[in-house]
């Protein structure tokens, strides 16, 4: 049986311009939790409860199909953070014993244990993360500069392959996750964690995430000039990064031009988001 529903305020769009209240409600409706936050939450749930460890990218891809995965992801940014979560899961699976759950789940809780799966020859999720060679990551470059060691080095890889990340990946991930957790409450501490990452792992597998987070931290600290400089360096270093769209949009909003490393200026071209 249907029940009478009063008209919703957000549907009252007859006035032009709409009233602040209608505008607020329509805006609230149009928002979604960001892909980065969703992925971070998913990773944290896996850390809290091993039963909730998200599936590895390989298992996820095998279960759902690469095309479906990429269509569902939609936003390129999610591709990168999903890979981070996948690597987190892969690393977590190497723990013996696993991290203790902060909140005990009942034994009858459905098991969400990641399926063991061999790494595929080509993982489309990981393959989507590419970075140009021969460019030093911005924060790492800043760090090298501060120590008088600036030199261009070849970035051998930024493709996150859990099978080849080496023994340092866990420490890398811990620093990046720490920075993520601190970003809202203590951006200065987040920046310190990121600087530590840049010092220890200048070309680590999470260099893009580190540099993207450092821009956010600088913005939150009010260091606009530094944030703009970092954002420009990021666009130069990782023109195909999934984070480019968000950073370029912000840079465009600031009214700043993108100044390239070779000194030429050009207007920022915001890349189009991939169509699902």
């Amino acid at each position: 049986m249907s029940f009478w529903q009063p008209a919703r305020w957000a549907d009252h769009a007859a006035t032009s311009p709409p009233s602040p209240l209608v505008l607020a409600l329509q805006h609230a409706r149009s928002l979604r939790g960001s892909a980065a936050r969703v992925t971070r939450l998913r990773g944290q749930l896996g850390t809290l409860a091993p039963q909730l460890a998200p599936p590895t990218s390989a298992a996820f891809t095998a279960a759902h199909g690469a095309g479906h995965v990429l269509r569902w992801l939609g936003l390129a940014g999610l591709v990168a953070v999903a890979a981070v979560a996948a690597l987190s899961a892969a690393l977590a699976s190497q723990h013996t014993p696993p991290a203790p759950a902060a909140r005990a789940l009942p034994a009858s809780a459905p098991s969400m244990q990641a399926q063991p799966a061999a790494a595929p020859a080509v993982d489309p999720v990981n393959a989507a993360i590419e970075a140009p060679a021969a460019v030093t990551p911005p924060l790492a470059a800043a760090h090298a500069t501060s120590r008088g060691k600036l030199k261009r080095t070849t970035q051998t890889t930024s493709t996150i392959d859990p099978a080849q990340v080496g023994p340092h990946a866990e420490a890398e991930l811990a620093l990046v996750l720490r920075a993520q957790r601190l970003l809202d409450t203590n951006p200065r501490a987040a920046l310190e964690a990121l600087s530590e990452h840049a010092a220890q792992f200048p070309h680590g597998v999470f260099a893009q995430e580190r540099d993207s987070l450092s821009i956010d931290a600088l913005r939150k600290l009010g260091s606009r000039t530094q944030a703009i400089a970092q954002a420009r360096a990021f666009l130069q270093a990782y023109p195909r990064s999934p984070h480019v769209h968000r950073i370029a949009l912000w840079l465009q909003d600031t009214g700043a031009n993108a100044s390239t490393i070779d000194g030429s200026d050009h207007k920022i071209a915001v890349p189009a988001l991939p169509t699902p």
């Binding site: 919703r8 957000a10 009233s19 209240l21 607020a24 149009s30 936050r37 749930l45």
Partner: protein, 207 residues
């Protein structure tokens, strides 16, 4: 095993809030937490700030909700839509959160470009800025409401749930939901400048 819901989720990015496809028990095996998380987490993260959860507490509260969802999923009896059930958990967790003496009282930081994404390109930066300012004013008005009124307002006006679903989520009668919604509307109208014409809309809703 690929569930019906998982397959649907992979084909369509996210359903709209209004007219949302109901998540039915029959659609989803009880073990398919992944599919439920993918489907609902963007909405849970959206609704929490409107329910008064401070930005700094958002991750913790969202974790609490999804751990509760995971715990309860096996025992979900299907007497309501799965989406409604998740919103019900949100209401209870938020209510508990607001009772905690140490929950943060600062105004949630509006950080739409980092923590939220627009599902449409928007009408331009000027209008977006106006909308963000208006949303902050709305949040301030909602802060002064009792939790049940606030939940009724948010679930009806923003999440576009039906009265019946809100009643199920809040475990009360539909008439109680009406009473809470209209009380919240009156307060929001009074609190927000420029909302006078909405009061007239309210009067014209058949009351």
């Amino acid at each position: 095993m690929t569930s019906t819901l998982a397959a649907r989720s992979s084909e369509a990015p996210l359903p709209p809030a209004a007219g949302h496809d109901p998540l039915l028990l029959s659609d989803m095996p009880a073990t398919d937490f992944e599919a439920l998380f993918r489907e609902m987490s963007p909405y849970v993260l959206r609704v929490l700030p409107r329910m008064g959860v401070a930005s700094a507490d958002l991750d913790d509260v969202a974790q609490e909700i999804f751990l509760a969802v995971h715990r309860g999923l096996a025992g979900f009896e299907g007497r309501s839509q799965l989406r409604t059930w998740v919103y019900g958990i949100c209401i209870r967790v938020c209510s508990s959160y607001r009772r905690r003496p140490r929950h943060r009282h600062e105004q949630p930081a509006f950080d739409s470009d980092h923590e939220h994404e627009r599902v449409d390109p928007g009408p331009g930066p000027e209008r977006t800025l106006q909308a963000q300012q208006a949303l902050r004013a709305l949040d301030r008005a909602l802060d002064a409401l009792p939790a049940p009124q606030r939940a009724a307002f948010v679930l009806y006006e923003i999440e576009a749930l039906d009265m019946r679903d809100i009643a199920a989520a809040m475990d009360c009668s539909k008439f109680t939901v009406y009473a809470r919604l209209y009380a919240a509307r009156r307060h929001v109208c009074a609190a927000l400048a420029g909302a006078g014409h909405l009061a007239r809309h309210e009067e014209g809703d058949g009351r």
